[in-house]
Amino acid sequence: MNYVERLEKVAVLGAAGKMGSGIVLLTALEMADLSLEPGNRSRDFALYAVDISEPALAGLLKYLRDQVRRAAEKKTVWLRSVYADRSDLVENEEMIGQYIADVLAVVRPATRLEAAYGAGLVFEATNENPDLKVKLLGQIRAQNKKDAWFLTNTSSIPIHELDEKAGLGGRLIGFHFYNPPAVQKLVEVIRAKSTLPELAEFAAQYAKKLRKTVVPSNDVAGFIGNGHFMRDALHGIAEVERLAPEFGFVDAVYMVNKVSQDFLIRPMGIFQLVDYVGLDICQCILKVMSDRSVGADLRSPLLDRLVSSGAMGGQFADGSQKDGFLKYEKGRPAGVYDPEAKAYVPFADVGPRCDERLGPLPASGKPWKSVIQTVDRPAYLQGYFRDLRATTTMGADLAKRYGRKAKEVGLGLVKDGVAQKEDDVNTVMLTGFYHAYGPVNAYFDE
């Protein structure tokens, strides 16, 4: 099977989930674009969007309609050439409407795993649960008639382990999108020793067609992305535990979150990011990593306690943010969880005293959004971090500790053989987490 044949019948497992829906979108666009090429018009491209939840599949279709329209509006110049022979389509609006119909026609929602039995390519994007993944992959392997290739979106489970346990014989590769897949440029590609070379070639071509930035990660639990993020988050939690006796838990969470966003110029504070990913998901990933002992002490009793008390994070079906470490109003953090009182304390009650304690940003400080639009970003960052290093407020000190820890984690990933080089770690954080700079830098060096 060549590239086009491989993509003629595709199944996505966990299709209506946060990652699955993005994977369905990008893959369906690619399949529809192939179907519109003159040589492929007689082929029936089908993407089986498999998910156990019917309501979630209905939500998926709505998401796809909106997102495909956006995509179509951006490539209307091309659509006019694609539909040049369609005399019934004259205006942009008509062609965009047709394209939406063509893409959605590729997508066949299904609630049963059998839908994947005829697929030449299976994209697995289910929960981060090794047993579940092994079971699903193994079942499809046993029933599939096409010697399917498997891509898994796992963000932490070693590929060789899934391959062996599901008996895939090298027909599996890690293809880890970042959330949301339609926006984040990064794909971490994880090739196990057993992975077929042809499958690796296919994955490279597919990533290129999707215009993604590929970073290869070695096949070690957590890979580069979570290898960094989890340790970065654990540092945030450790800082909270260090500061809590003096300032109280709520104040400590507020301060560490604020420092990691404003002082470190990141798109979100560390606890907002943990909420975004979901505390339960973070818990699963930490478990996967610590079970495979890729690092010492990758556990957080605090996280476990919060999850069991129901502060979960993650998103509602409509994409809005659930409360976790923080409470959200209109998508923005508005309060901090107090585990003692099992209630959220509004920012208005903690913010002023914490902000005063932290002190102001260095005068050259700018929000993340404006920094990523700065033309000469490296020069700006040099200047800002020079100012930060010269500042001795509590906020600046916490930021410096954080920055040094992030660098230490980044270097550790290279030393431990997870990342092949420092640049790969930086690329992951820049393109998968939308950071303004990579963690391996000299900004915090003393």
């Binding site: 209307t76 110049v77 091309w78 659509l79 006019r80 004259v90 205006e91 942009n92 609006e93 965009i96």
Partner: protein, 415 residues
């Protein structure tokens, strides 16, 4: 053209702001004023200076595509919403694509000349931010020949037509200098707009406008030979002006020093179904300007300022040649020598033009007349240029479609 049988004046002009990207108060997801609001603001702005609706005999409204942008037809019947005293008076809506405003002016002028009216409220309006640009491009493509041109046309239909003109011009006269002239045109437009608080680019703070103007065109996402800075933006705006006889001026209590006299005008139509014979020339515009100058009985040496139809930088450049300030192929040099800037001998588009002030398509012709009235009567505020006694006249050129419907008007401060 027959000599006019009576004198025609314009006065009491009013421009709303041009709302769209670039204005601080514009947010695509926030509610905005509608078509009616713009018509009423501009109409009332005129009537406040003309003694109210009771002094007006007739209304004319120029608009291009409200039927699609706003799902609204029968615009003539929106004129009485401006003032109850306009009810039961004759009103007309005219349409000639982006030349609709110019047609509104000539329709009003003709009514005054026919002595069926002494005071005509003339409004031009377009509210276009109701749809995204990619769908707006469909609507604006209606200024071309739908059955003959649209299917084979580009996603961005009009930018592509003028991109083709730019490409032909590059081929004939050189790309590098022409692109630099485009960038200079963009800079002049924005610098002028920064002085005029109703302009869409009033809030523009870019430091190096020419560098931005020199951005390489990207044919994959846009068109071959133009970038977005070469194009006027999507605008919501209205403009209004009173077109009057001498009796009308008296009745409205407007002194001649606050009015401009229409010395001459030219209205020319080309065949919508025939492509331009020479894409590097705006032939219809040239003919309209010639007629207007002949009717006024003056030469270009008397023109002190110009409002030209720079829907794209290339149309600004070609306008210079069509008007006759520069010979064919010499427009780029003319621009690069600074002659169209506000320090030049004949400043062009002193409030920013279509690229700087904004381009509410069907309203632009009236907006140009208002800008010239402000400039000639000393009401232009920070964007005022000096009008010398040697060059006391002004010229506006309003173009609909790909140089199909053109109205040129020559003005002088009334005495």
């Amino acid at each position: 053209m027959k000599k006019s049988r009576r004198k025609v004046y314009m006065a009491a002009g009013y421009n709303t702001i041009s709302l769209g990207t670039g204005r601080k108060e514009f947010h695509p997801k926030k509610a905005r004023p509608g078509l009616e609001d713009y018509i009423q603001e501009a109409g009332r702005g005129v009537l406040a200076q003309a003694g109210g609706g009771k002094n007006v005999d007739e209304g004319v409204i120029g608009n291009f595509m409200a039927a699609r942008f706003n799902r609204q037809g029968n615009l003539a019947a929106l004129i009485p919403t401006v003032d109850p005293d306009l009810r039961w008076k004759p009103c007309t809506r005219v349409e000639g694509a982006c030349g609709s405003g110019g047609l509104a002016l000539t329709a009003a002028i003709k009514s005054v000349l026919a002595e069926t009216a002494d005071a005509v409220l003339t409004v031009g309006v377009e509210v276009q931010n109701t749809v995204k640009a990619i769908y707006g491009a469909d609507i604006l493509a209606g200024a071309g020949w739908y059955r003959g041109e649209r299917k084979a046309g580009h996603a961005y239909f009009f930018p592509a037509l003028f991109s083709d003109r730019a490409g032909a011009y590059f081929e004939k006269y050189g790309r590098d200098k022409t692109r630099r002239a485009f960038a200079r045109w963009y800079r002049n437009a924005v610098e002028n707009a920064r002085l005029c608080e109703t302009a869409q680019e009033f809030h523009n703070t870019c430091e190096d406008l020419e560098a931005l103007g020199l951005t390489e065109p990207n044919p994959r996402t846009f068109v071959d030979h133009l970038n977005v800075y070469d194009c006027s933006k999507v605008s919501d705006a209205a403009a209004g002006i009173a077109v009057l006889s001498a009796e009308g001026l008296d009745r409205c209590g407007i002194s001649k020093s606050d009015a401009v006299e229409v010395l001459g005008w030219g209205q020319v139509e080309a065949d919508l179904t025939v492509p331009p014979a020479d894409p590097t020339e705006l032939e219809t515009s040239r003919r309209a300007v010639q007629k207007a100058l002949e009717a006024a009985g003056i030469g270009l040496d008397k023109i002190g300022t110009v409002e030209c139809h720079d829907c794209f930088t290339i149309s600004g450049l070609l306008s210079i040649e069509a008007i006759g300030f520069a010979g064919k192929g010499e427009g780029a040099d003319y621009i690069l020598a600074g002659k169209t800037s506000r320090q030049g001998p004949v400043p062009f588009n002193t409030s920013g033009g279509l690229i700087g002030w904004g381009h509410p398509t069907g309203g632009t012709g009236v907006r140009q007349a208002v800008s010239i009235w402000q400039q000639l009567t000393g009401k232009a505020g920070k964007w005022q240029v000096e009008i010398s006694p040697e060059r006391p006249c002004a010229l506006s050129v309003n173009m609909g479609g790909n140089d199909k419907t053109v109205v040129a008007v020559v003005y002088r401060r009334a005495a």
